[in-house]
Symmetry: C2
Subunit: 157 residues, 2 copies
């Protein structure tokens, strides 16, 4: 058991921020890293990486439908993830199976195996349990956080 570093200032040993928005952007990057690290520790027990888990969840969302690489890519949180190679590794572990698309010969379609469903169910339970233990936040606060994050991103470039 260890005490988590709470304050950003402690976490990155810095107190000099240009303004609150600058601090917020570092805070988001740090919090994302923290979330991923915590989750990865749990997923490792199931032999999964964070991104492999993400692909399995996406496949589950449409199960038993078969999804092509593009359909998976556009649902990924990190868009630039290299989905074909993540699928390669899931195929080796027999958690998904891949086939040629019947309608478009360019596409390959992927779906969960029974093993994939089982591993996903078990790992999801562990991840949810971790989140419940780790994050003590009121529903109202989480709602507010969602609003602020979308306001932050909500603009044209």
């Amino acid at each position: 058991m260890y005490i988590c570093i709470v304050k950003l200032e402690q976490a990155i040993q810095s107190t000099k921020f240009k303004n609150e928005m600058h601090k917020a952007s570092l805070n988001i990057l740090y919090t994302a890293w923290w979330l991923k690290t915590q989750m990865s520790k749990v997923l490792k027990e199931f032999g999964l990486t964070h991104e492999q888990y993400n692909v399995l969840r996406i496949l589950k969302g449409k199960y038993p439908e078969q999804l092509c690489v593009k359909d998976i890519s556009c649902r990924m949180i990190e868009k630039s993830s290299n989905v074909p190679r993540i699928i390669d590794r899931l195929v080796i572990k027999k958690l998904v199976k891949r086939a040629d698309s019947p309608t478009d010969k360019r596409e390959t379609v992927t779906t969960l195996t029974q093993a994939g469903l089982a591993v996903l169910a078990a790992s999801t339970e562990s991840v949810n349990q971790l989140m419940d233990e780790m994050v003590k936040m009121e529903n109202k606060e989480a709602e507010q956080l969602n609003v602020l994050l979308e306001r932050l991103r909500g603009t044209e470039v």
Copy 2:
């Protein structure tokens, strides 16, 4: 010019969230990816990666002091970054110089070169400009966001 995807639901093509906290965690991961992607586009013009830029900023924070690898590591946003190899690449580009520590023969100390200072100044200006254009957020809102992010992380494990 393109319209950014604002809503998380659109960005990851999903509307099924366990609860607001689950949505918030995905929202943080997505927003962090979005911020890093936007910043990396700017940094690429200076031949820098996001992590190389982070190391340069940390060195600037203590300049002209020389920092050992450990001092840099503990200030990184992503703690597991492999600082020795990031420094390797910055040395090749002649943006930093590395020397043996006079006080501890195990340590190597790193400091910015004049070129490093110049590249950092120019790239920081571009990054700040991007952030100003991209993120339209009131100071009060950013403050609130910081409070919520730290509440999210503020717990024991």
